[in-house]
């Protein structure tokens, strides 16, 4: 197979996001990740809905489809079912996936169809110029709610784990290396791989994630989970997470008799999602925010289940062409 590079995945279209938008970093990370997947260029397909992030497919030199608002998971489902050999990537935002497209989003996760979903979460509507989204922090003042929102936000992790998501990862748009690593793991996972990307909107919601991504705080505010490893963070990796009476707690190794053996070890493969949900809910200032692959469990996929049914029916069929069906059953001759 010919060796591909990031240049093979850049289309000739001018990228039109705002200067400084977090989307640029995600686009670059994706273009660098695809050559690592050892797949033919023509087998990638990018599908999006509507919103700033949904322009993404135009900038990728792959097959692409910029569809309608909120419905990308349904298109992606049809694509994967029609051709199981394709590597299907859905690009969506917090409005597209969680407001107008909430229904399709949860059903894709429930079915566990083998696609990858990149959820660009910037907690605001960008393309329509600054209204609050289903993930905006409660009370935020926007054009459509100048006195502060009265909407309780969704937690994308809780919503997706409730919908039986088999793969949930989180990353920040300022960490391209981690993005690449997660994209590669997402493609390897069989089932719906959901990646929440905390992405900064410089125009309408600048610095909404600064408590996580700010240079001064990030060492203590980000925790990168790795399966099978103790959950540690901090500039010198001396801080950790323990489970105490059904609640998570932060501890410092060496203080109060805490040793490395007391620290929780991350198990992304555990079917029970309780701990995954608790880890995903952690937020500064009480906790660092959990990044990396939080959950990755084996579960049969909708597409392979359907294809095995079809294979079985074909092998055990009474007839295998349409004429035999048309002339089957009760017929009579005139």
């Amino acid at each position: 197979m010919e060796k591909l590079t990031n240049k093979d995945f850049s289309s000739d279209q001018e990228v039109r996001w705002c200067p400084g938008c977090g989307d640029y970093a995600i686009l670059r990370a994706m273009q660098k990740s695809l050559p690592l997947l050892n797949r033919k260029k023509e087998d990638f397909i990018f599908i999006s809905g509507i919103g700033c992030s949904s322009r993404f497919p135009y900038y990728m030199d792959t097959y692409g489809f910029h569809s309608i608002h909120g419905r990308a998971p349904a298109f992606a489902t049809g694509m994967k079912l029609a051709n199981p050999n394709l590597s299907v990537w859905q690009i969506t935002g917090d409005g597209d996936a969680l407001a107008i497209g909430g229904n399709h989003f949860i059903h894709a996760l429930r079915r566990n169809i083998d696609i990858n979903i990149l959820l660009f979460n910037n907690e605001i509507y960008g393309l329509t110029k600054g209204q609050f989204s289903p993930t905006s922090k409660k009370g935020i003042k926007t054009k459509s709610n100048p006195h502060g929102t009265t909407d309780e936000p969704f937690s994308p992790s809780d919503l997706s784990l409730g919908a039986k998501s088999s793969f949930f990862a989180r990353v920040v748009d300022t960490n391209p290396k981690l993005m690449q690593k997660i994209f590669v793991e997402a493609e390897a996972h069989k089932g719906t791989s959901l990646i929440e990307i905390l992405q900064n909107c410089v125009i309408f919601n600048d610095k909404t994630f600064s408590s996580i991504t700010g240079k001064e705080v990030k060492k203590d505010a980000q925790l990168i989970l790795e399966h099978g490893k103790p959950i540690l963070y901090g500039a010198t990796m001396n801080k950790g997470i323990v489970l105490n009476k059904f609640k998570l707690e932060t501890v410092i190794i060496g203080e109060n008799g805490i040793t490395i053996d007391d620290i929780l070890v991350h198990d992304a493969y555990e079917q029970d999602s309780t701990l995954h949900a608790m880890l995903a809910r952690m937020r500064p200032p009480e906790f660092p925010a959990a990044l990396g692959v939080i959950r990755s469990v084996k579960r049969s996929t909708f597409d392979s289940d359907m294809n095995s049914q079809i294979d079985y029916e074909k092998r055990n069929a009474k007839f295998n062409n349409v004429n035999e069906l048309l002339f089957s059953g009760d017929t009579w001759n005139v």
């Binding site: 289309s11 279209q13 033919k40 260029k41 023509e42 087998d43 397909i45 599908i47 509507i50 497919p57 135009y58 990728m60 030199d61 792959t62 097959y63 692409g64 489809f65 910029h66 569809s67 309608i68 419905r71 998971p73 349904a74 298109f75 992606a76 489902t77 049809g78 694509m79 079912l81 029609a82 051709n83 050999n85 394709l86 229904n103 399709h104 059903h107 359907m306 049914q309 079809i310 029916e313 074909k314 055990n316 069929a317 009474k318 007839f319 295998n320 062409n321 349409v322 004429n323 069906l325 048309l326 002339f327 059953g329 009760d330 017929t331 009579w332 001759n333 005139v334």
Partner: protein, 617 residues
């Protein structure tokens, strides 16, 4: 009922007869009707059926609202409708009698389950006293059969529970009607054996009760003669009985096979279209992929996704679902992908009359989208030709890469008729318009004649490109906000549809080619219009029938046909949508209207009377 008494026997030979089974929605009338249909079809009768049932699965028992009916018209002559009024009515309770009192021929036979004619059931049906005892049904041949009692008596030694025994009474009624029309019971016996394979007691009980009904009819003196309807004189060939939704499903299967495509159906259950999903879901052995989506929108969007990735993709729905699919149809028009949207119409607006028929989605199919968004619109017109129109819709969409909306309706979808089976080898070839690997590919370059673009399927090396709902630049398909390009593309999309009229066959006319009255119809009203016009032609009236299946574009000779008649009457089960469409397209003609919005098909009698009055003016 035209009849002649045969010599030396009490068997009366009928040319055609209409039978209606009516009872509570839990009484099994649909099954009873279907069994009578299948048996008659195997005997070679021509036939047409009309199931008429309430929207609720089990509407309040014993009430008029809960009555479920199944009408069948059988004959040894050409049968085109399920019949206007019944010669024989089976009424399982007073409500069934009340609901059908206006649809039974004066002097016809009414078989009633007399066990249900008690004060409690009169109250539920809204009768003060027994309608059999006042003069309401004077002059009818009322056959009082103690169906419930005799069913229980027949099964008194059965191990079945009381509920199952009660439910077998429809077989008693079927037995009576089988005797009346001299039908063999073997077909139903084999059906019961297959249906209740897992419960031999149920098989035995149902067969026993059916025989009891048959013998009851043979014994009692109320039935002075039995009838027979001989085989119809149909063209030579192999026949089967088909329902519209089934024929539609098979048409898509045939098209996919001939186009060498996988068939993909994305759909959400909705009455009366769900049977297409059910039928196609059965045929995984033929490689069909059916996807029951989370909603109507996901149904069509999954189909568009599958279409982009190389399937023959369809979505099936009814009126409210078509409304939800509007935005996605616009996307399929903008991206110029193949897609068939089937709308099995029902009464509207809103939830309307889910189980009743209507033709009121025509304007929605033509225009129910934002922007200038022309789609091909076709309509099937008989249960059996749903096969042909599903095939034709697939052929057009795959060869021209433009979405097709195919209109059927509840009456066609649930109706049945004998079908002279068409082999897939006899269907026209389908050549999907797809770009190959070596093509110098421009996604929006088009054929000079048809204006259709070539699609490139993901997985094809070197043809990577992006589609989407934003306006496309001519030829390259890149996003374009250029004002002149937008106007040009709108014109191209419209012209592409118009140019199909060069390819589709000319409109045919039945009856007189010119004259006093042109009857115009479209879609599911064909049977009633054809029968009514046929009757007028027998009396040498100057009348022709022009019945449309191609709605957009219209056939190229439409104007010529319209100009050959003094008067034009457009008949449709809506408030005049096709009439308005014709007015818009053909100015200078006067289009009179005949419309009905009652959830029922036209009767041939009402049409004939109306046409006569027009002809006499």
């Amino acid at each position: 009922m035209q009849s002649k008494i045969m010599n030396n026997s009490k068997v009366v030979d009928l040319e055609k007869v209409v039978i209606k089974f009516a009872g509570d929605s839990g009484d099994g009338m649909q099954l009873t009707g279907t069994q009578f249909t299948d048996t008659s079809a195997l005997l070679g009768n021509d036939l047409a059926t009309f199931p008429d049932y309430p929207a609720e699965i089990r509407a309040p028992q014993g009430t008029v609202a809960g009555v479920s009916g199944f009408q069948i018209h059988i004959g040894r002559i050409d049968i085109n409708t399920p019949g206007d009024i019944a010669d024989v009515l089976v009424a399982m309770n007073p409500a069934a009698l009340k609901a059908n009192k206006n649809f039974i021929k004066k002097g016809g036979s009414i078989i009633v389950n007399i066990d249900s004619f008690n004060q409690r059931d009169f109250d539920k049906a809204g009768y003060e006293q027994s309608p059999l005892e006042d003069n309401s049904f004077e002059g009818y041949n009322i056959i009082e059969a103690p169906i419930t009692k005799l069913t229980r008596e027949t099964l008194k030694d059965s191990k079945l529970d009381g509920k199952s025994i009660g439910r077998a009474k429809n077989m008693f009624a079927l037995g009576i009607v089988y005797w009346m029309f001299n039908r063999p019971m073997q077909q139903t016996e084999s059906f019961l054996k297959a249906k209740f394979k897992k419960s031999p007691e149920l098989v035995e009980a149902n067969i026993k009760v059916m025989h009891a009904g048959y013998n009851f009819a043979d014994t009692i003196e109320a039935l002075s003669s039995s009838y027979t309807v001989l085989s119809a004189k149909l063209p030579k060939g192999t026949y089967r009985n088909v329902m519209g939704n089934q024929a539609m499903s098979w048409g898509f299967l045939a098209a996919a096979e001939n186009a060498k495509k996988e068939l993909f159906l994305g759909s959400y259950p909705i009455t009366p279209a769900s049977d297409i999903l059910h039928e196609l879901a059965k045929h995984k052995n033929l490689g069909v992929k059916t996807f029951q989506a989370e909603d109507e929108i996901a149904g069509i969007c999954s189909a568009i996704g599958a279409s982009f990735c190389g399937s023959l993709a369809i979505t099936t729905t009814s009126g409210p679902g078509l409304a939800l699919k509007g935005e996605a149809i616009g996307l399929a028009i903008m991206t110029e992908l193949p897609l068939v949207v089937v709308d099995v119409q029902r009464g509207g607006p809103s939830t309307g009359l889910p189980t009743k028929t209507e033709q009121s989605d025509l304007m929605q199919a033509l225009y129910g989208r934002n922007g200038e968004s022309p789609a091909v619109v076709l309509a099937s017109s008989t249960p059996a030709n749903c096969f042909d129109w599903a095939y034709q819709a697939s052929k057009i969409t795959l060869e021209h890469n433009t979405p097709v909306i195919l209109l059927s309706d509840g009456y066609l979808g649930n109706g049945a008729e004998p079908w002279k089976i068409k082999s897939t080898n006899d269907m026209p070839k389908i050549n999907p318009n797809v770009a190959k690997e070596e093509d110098n590919y421009f996604p929006y370059a088009r054929d000079k004649k048809t204006f259709s673009r070539k699609i490139a399927i993901p997985g094809t090396k070197g043809l990577e490109h992006r589609l989407g709902g934003l306006e496309k630049e001519d030829i390259t398909g890149n996003v374009s906000y250029d004002p002149e390009n937008h106007e040009k593309m709108c014109k191209i999309r419209s012209e592409k549809i118009n140019r199909l009229s060069n390819i589709i066959p000319e409109q045919k006319i039945y009856g007189k080619e010119s004259g006093n009255l042109l009857v115009v119809g479209w879609g599911g009203t064909f049977g009633s219009l054809y029968s009514a016009v046929g009757a007028l032609l027998k009396d040498d009236n100057s009348v022709g029938l022009c019945h449309f299946n191609y709605i957009n574009p219209l056939p190229s000779n439409t104007k010529e046909i319209l100009s050959k008649f003094k008067r034009i009457v457009v008949c449709e089960l809506n408030a005049g949508q096709f009439a308005n469409y014709l007015r818009m397209n053909f100015q200078g003609f006067v289009f009179e209207q005949y419309n009905k919005l009652q959830g029922f098909p036209f009767t041939s009698i009402e049409l004939e009377a109306h046409f006569k009055s027009l002809l006499s003016k």
